[in-house]
Symmetry: C2
Subunit: 159 residues, 2 copies
């Protein structure tokens, strides 16, 4: 089986792991976003959730933390042939980080019309000519991921 | 004196500190880019240089490291009223990180036509409507910063 097929076949499994990470963020009163990085042979290398409040650091997005963990674990500058699964469309920082780490495939659940930079906003992979371009797929678990975010912001407004 | 005037007055001093950071990177065979974060009262909070090779992590750009150090030092999620001085126009990852950290002013030495995202490429502050927009100034020490980068890439080609 081709690597891409292997990952595609297990797309739902990995996105569920990312979603469980998002739930962990929710339980910590963090914006609920989760990310998982998977090797070409389907092994989960790292998983992380948004921790900007806990870490008091506005760069601690799920994708950044997952990339940093994976680089450390593999002792590699690049995560070639890896895939990243995220519950929300990456912002320009994270979309560029994914590219700089040379992650091959990006999967995300729900689009982010305001803050997303992959299929929304500056569409970074299309418009930064010198960036490495991963493949992009999205949509699975979009209702669940979107509902979790809505629930978070609804709770926030109640406070 | 207004804070902005204070920083502007010492623009050259801070950019020289950033340039010395870039030189440290050069001496480690890293792409020579340096960054410094300065408080509104003119105190240097953090300085850093590119360490992508040393750390085996392609996200370890000078700006990211400087922001992370500053957040840790101040125990603050946001670096409001701070200024960042960088020797090269930030890439989309770093330009967005600067905005997410709510850094008030960005100063950089030389433009990066291929990889920059502030006055080149996607011009992120103009085109991502929901991003916090810092003020942008550039040009000081541009020859020195540009020469150091050219020297680095010339040496690299010799290998």
């Amino acid at each position: 089986m081709e690597n891409k097929d292997l990952i595609d076949k297990n797309f739902q499994k990995y996105m569920k792991i990312a979603f469980l990470e998002a739930k962990k963020a929710f339980d910590k009163a963090e914006v609920p976003i989760g990310a998982v990085i998977v090797s070409k042979d389907g092994k989960v290398i790292s998983k992380a959730h948004n921790l900007t409040e806990t870490k008091k650091n506005s760069l601690c997005h799920a994708e950044i933390l997952a990339i940093q963990k994976a680089c450390k674990k593999l002792n590699e500058k690049y995560l070639m042939d890896c895939s990243i699964f995220v519950t929300l469309e990456p912002c320009p920082m994270c979309a560029t980080a994914i590219s700089l780490a040379k992650i091959k495939n990006v999967y995300f659940s729900t689009v982010d019309e305001k803050g997303g930079a992959v299929v929304n906003g500056v569409k970074i992979y299309e418009n930064m000519k010198n960036l490495y371009k991963p493949t992009v797929n999205y949509g699975y678990l979009k209702e669940e991921s979107s509902e979790l975010l809505k629930k978070f912001f609804k709770n926030l407004r109640k406070k």
